[in-house]
Each structure stands twice: as structure tokens, then as C-alpha cells.
Symmetry: C3
Subunit: 264 residues, 3 copies
């Protein structure tokens, strides 16, 4: 059995509860992608219950796309609960670099133990404290060697860093992998970025090797994207077929279609 | 004319205004399902206007999926306005049992006059004060006789109780019906649970017999689900076709496809 | 080259950053419609960053569909930043007339410089201070000459007013155009109204003649709606194909299909 498929199988069998404190734009997508992968999503952002909901969950996904003071407070209490319980925390650094407020808040969140930090190139660079030109939540230009930035950041924070792009850089600060699956259409609809973090959260819930879990999740998600793209007529139908194609992911298709390279 | 279809016809003709204070995950689905059924959805959660918006509405749907102190405050003022006006209030008990906070808040909301309480088995049992093992917002195991729990809860609260599942239990504390329509696919995408409550709210807006209104709404919604499932390729396309199939519900199809059993 | 298509081409080439403070029901649709048109959407509603996010944007869309005190505060700081930078501000007057709270808040927002005010007939009439019978967020009956109401309102506020309906009235207080594209299906799903404002915001981001930008955006959006309607099986598939058909808008199709009339 393909090792990636083996993790997917565990997701489908264990149906882990994946808690989210996420943004209002893609909150449905985050929930639904967990569901179609076979997991069980939950979204509870009230500071009064965020920690308790985390304590019955198998992983926590935090996405700062539409952060505010209250949601950041809920994120902190949830991350603390996740750290205490020893479950993985995935941080999606949406829009970091765009405003001082986001830069401050990500810094505060990074004081906690994070398992996987995910973002596009400019978000990861900004989160790592490297000056970049950002354009809202879409990827800006990043000068410097992105692989080295991600690797160093992962090393410093003792976590996995995922820098998404045409090829996704996945690193734990020592090894570096490139996930080369996916299709340009995935960046032409809103939601795929947030969903990628939720997928990583779902896979990390059942696989303690978070680097491999992140890679496995991305490979599965992006193969589904490739399959959806083949039969869609545009971004609208693509988005729906993306959900369809998660449920048909098989050992054979993953083994045949995965494009993964270890570069360090 | 089929009695269930007759209520649907009234929804389509009267196009009732259905006010929601609902959760951020499925808020679009809640609005759109009301719309495609022929109703007119509105969502106003600011405590400053929730009561006034309710006072021009034909029914109120309250869903605690992503509750917080402010939204619960808005729910209370809206429910009070609905009670005063004499319009139906549907309470979707999402995630009750998962956290102390939810358990407290549902208790506070149940101090008002509710017309229909809806939830999956574990949510209904928790709301009724019976101890269950819950897993986030997805249905947990419920020990004991669910039919009796729902019936007693409805009797105690003098309202209709709908406990969804493979078969939906609908009871006013005296009669008990099972709605047997639907398809497993409906529980494999996010949103169908919230939509069911919105559909009940839409049907209760035009039919004073809330037990029958709830049953009629569920039958229509789940027949559409069956029709959608027949031609969909997975959860993504299913979700869209579900909306399509609402608009094609006819007297003949409802009469032929409805699966309803009175068990008490 | 068709003049409308020429603006669309600029949207696709410049990919403007369009900032939104919008409602929770259609927030995904607002983001995705900007994206599929070729723009770059961003949604940041925290008062702490709304102004700064605006200052890196090319236009601002404000939608009061699910307003509250905090979001209105964020809107004000964002509009002030937009006014300072000289970028267009589009105000979608969702549900104005339905509650006193909305009426007060729209008044406060109208004290700022707005570039385009958009709403259905009853919303525009209410915003203009004319008494109407409103039904939630769906269009109520408007007595009086809607064209004159819109024209006078635009003249008084020195802005563009767009009153949507079967035919959309677009006026800068002097000229009045009717956009006659679109299909009844567009009003049978939730989201098209909010998306129309986001489209206008996207076109105004690249075209300083806001009246023409609003018209061009609506024509493109509604032609896509017509194309989607031709091949859809109901409101669910229609909604998805609407996104598909944005990306296939061409010089030829716009030139052939546009239905635009100057009536003043």
C-alpha cells in the first residue's frame, strides 16, 4: 500500500475531530473539505468554549484570514489547550505582511507551540520576519531563497513549515520536500489555500510525523484538484468537483499521480 | 393534492420572510435553501436590530453552531419578539453536549417559548438533559430509547422535537412520526443539518400545525436529496443538485416518493 | 474593441486588490466573484487593520447585510482611508428600510464620500429618505418614479447610484442608463446582489469613470448570468456556472449580448 494512501485510509477510518478557529470567507470550505476527506469538522470560536472544544478534538487549525481581537484570544486559549493535550496545531498565516496588526498577532501566536505553519511564499517570509512586498492575501514577490527561508524558519521554530506555491515547500528544518501536484486552477478560486491547511490538520490528527502528514495531505488534495480540473468547465464547476474527487482517491491513483521530490 | 405538497405550494406563493440568527459555517446554505424553496431569507444578528427584524418576519430560526455571548443575546431578544408576535421559533441545537458553554446557553434559550427544537440524536438527548458521549457537531452514540427521549422532551417543553438521523423522529409529545426519506450522502456534506432547520422554519411560517409543517419540510428536503443523489458524482455536485431539485418538487413526485410512518 | 470589454481586460491585467467589509452570508461569493474576474479580493473587518488594508487596496466595497457596531466602525475607518487615498468606495445598502438600526447606520456611512451606492429599488429609495414598504433584504414595492429617485439621490450625493432590478438603473445624477442584461434566475439564488457590488468595486478599481465602470461590470456579470442560465438545471448548478462563465467572457460575446440603453 502507498504510504500516503495509508494515512488517508486512517483519516477515513478514524474520522478525527478537527477543531477550527478560522476566517469567515472560507469557513464552509474548511469544514466541508474535512468532512469529504472523512474527518469530522467543528468550528467554535467563542473564547468561552474554544479550549474545551479543543480538548475533545484530535487537532486544531487556526487561520487568521479575518482575525480580530476576540478571535485571536480564542485562538490562544485553544492553542494552549492543544499544547496541553499534545495534539497538533496548524497555523495558516493568511495575509501576514499586509498590515501591522496581522504582523503583531502572528508574533503573539508564534509564542505558542505550533506544529505546522502554512502560508504562501510572502506570508511565510513575513512570518519569518523577512521583509517582503505583499498584496493582500495573494502571494507577493519574495526575494531570496524561499527554500532556505522556510527551512530556517522551521528549524528556529522547531516545527514543520509549508510554503505553498506552484510547488509546495515542506520542511521540518532538516529535510525539504517539494510537492509538485496541483493545477493552476487551484489558485484561481477562493478557498483552496484555507482548505489546504484544514487538510493538513486532518492528516496530522492521525499521523504523528507531521512533516509526512502535511505532505500526504497536500498530495491527496492536489491530486483531487488535478482530477477535478480535467472535467470542469471553469472555476465554479472545478470547485465542486474538487470535493467530488476527494472521495474517489484510491491507492492506485495516489501511487500513480503523486509528484514528490526530496531536495534536501 | 398531496397535503405535504399543499404546504410547499403555500411557501412558494406566500414567500415568507424567514429571519435567522445562525452560524458562520452554513449561513449561506441556510439563506439559499429558504430562497430556493420560494421563501425570503434574512439574517440580522446585531442585538440592536434582531428584535425589529423578527417583528417583520413570518418565522425565526436560531442556530447555535458558532454561538458567542453577543449572538446569544441577539437570539434572546429575537425569540422574545417572535413570542410576542406569535410566530414560530425553530431552535437548532448544534453541538449541544460538546461543551459546558453550549449546555448553559441552550438552557437559557429553552427558557423562552420554542416551537420546534431540532438536533441529531446526541444533541436532542443532551438538550433534554440526558448524559451522552458527544463528538463535536456530529452525532454521537445515544443510549436509551431515542423515540421516548424526544417524545418526553417535546411533552415537557410543549413543543415539537425533531431528532434527525437515518430516520428523523418528529413528535409533539403525543404523536410520533418517522420521516424515512433522505440518503446517506446528505450526512456526508456540511450544511444539510442547518438547512433542515431552515426548511422547517420556512414551512412553519405558513402552516400553524408545526408538527406537520416540520414533517412536510423534511419530506420535501429529503426527497430533493434523493433526487440529487441519483445524478451526482460526489459530495460537491450533490450539494449543488440538492438546490436544483428543490425547484422541481411536484405534487406527483412528493406523493410517490414520501416515506412517512406514524409510530405512536 | 468593445469599450466594456476593454475595462474587463484591464481588470484581468491589473488584478486590482479589492478590499471588502461585507456580510457573513455572501462573503465567499464576494471574494470569489472578484477572483474569477481576475481581481484579488481581501476581507479584513477588524477596526485595527481595516484602514491599513484599505490603504494598500485599489477599491473598497462596504456591504451592510449583517452589520453590527464593530463592523460599522471598521467601515468608517476604511472609508476614511479610501477617501484619503482617493480610491473608489462602493456601498451596498442591503436591507436598508427594514430596521431603524440600518437606517441610522446608512445615514452615518453616507456622511463619508461614497463613489457608488448600490441597492434594489426599495433599498435605494429608503437610503434616499423616501418611505417604502420593505421586506427584509428582498425588494419591496416602491411607489414613485424609481428613475427619478435614483437620479436625484445621485445628484444630491454627487455619486453614482445603481438601483438593481429586472432592469438596472445606473445614474450619476445627470445621465441615466438601463442595463437590461441578466436573467430571472439571478434573483432566485442568494448572493448575486452582493456579488454585483463586488463586481462594480472591481471595475471601479481600474476605471475612473465610475458610472461607466459600474455599467461595464454589471453588463459583464449579467451576460455571464445569461450564459450560465442556458446550461444549468436549477439554482444550484446555475450558481456554479455563473463563476465558470465569467472566465469565458470575450470581446465578441460582450459586444453581441450587451443590452444597454441611455434614457436620459
Amino acid at each position: 500500500m502507498d504510504k500516503i494512501y495509508e494515512v488517508l485510509e486512517r483519516v477515513r477510518k478514524e474520522s478525527p475531530l478537527v477543531h477550527h478557529i478560522t476566517n469567515w470567507v472560507t469557513i464552509y470550505d474548511c469544514a466541508n473539505i474535512v468532512k469529504v476527506f472523512g474527518g469530522s469538522p467543528v468550528m467554535a470560536h467563542a473564547p468561552e468554549e474554544a479550549a474545551e472544544m479543543t480538548s475533545i478534538s484530535a487537532s486544531l487549525v487556526v487561520n487568521i484570514g479575518t482575525l480580530n481581537n476576540t478571535s485571536v484570544e480564542a485562538m490562544k486559549t485553544a492553542i494552549a489547550a492543544a499544547n496541553k493535550k499534545g495534539i497538533p496545531v496548524i497555523l495558516d498565516a493568511v495575509g501576514v505582511g499586509a498590515t501591522k496588526y496581522r504582523n503583531e498577532k502572528i508574533k503573539e501566536l508564534l509564542e505558542y507551540k505550533i506544529s505546522v505553519i502554512k502560508g504562501n511564499a510572502s506570508e511565510i517570509a513575513s512570518a519569518a520576519g523577512i521583509s517582503v512586498t505583499t498584496k493582500g492575501v495573494d502571494s507577493g514577490n519574495v526575494s531570496g531563497d524561499m527554500v532556505n527561508i522556510a527551512k530556517q524558519f522551521a528549524y528556529d521554530k522547531e516545527c514543520v513549515v509549508v510554503a505553498t506555491g506552484k510547488e509546495d515547500i515542506c520542511t521540518d528544518g532538516e529535510s525539504v520536500y517539494l510537492v509538485k501536484n496541483g493545477t493552476p486552477m487551484m489558485s484561481q478560486v477562493v478557498g483552496t489555500g484555507s482548505m489546504a491547511a484544514s487538510v493538513i490538520g486532518t492528516f496530522c490528527a492521525v499521523e504523528k510525523d507531521y512533516l509526512f502528514a502535511a505532505i500526504a495531505g497536500l498530495v491527496c488534495f492536489e491530486i483531487a484538484g488535478e482530477n477535478a480540473d480535467k472535467t470542469s468547465e471553469g472555476p465554479g464547476t472545478f470547485k465542486n468537483k474538487l470535493f467530488d474527487k476527494i472521495s474517489t482517491l484510491s491507492d492506485i491513483s495516489i501511487n500513480k499521480m503523486k509528484r514528490l521530490e526530496k531536495i534536501r
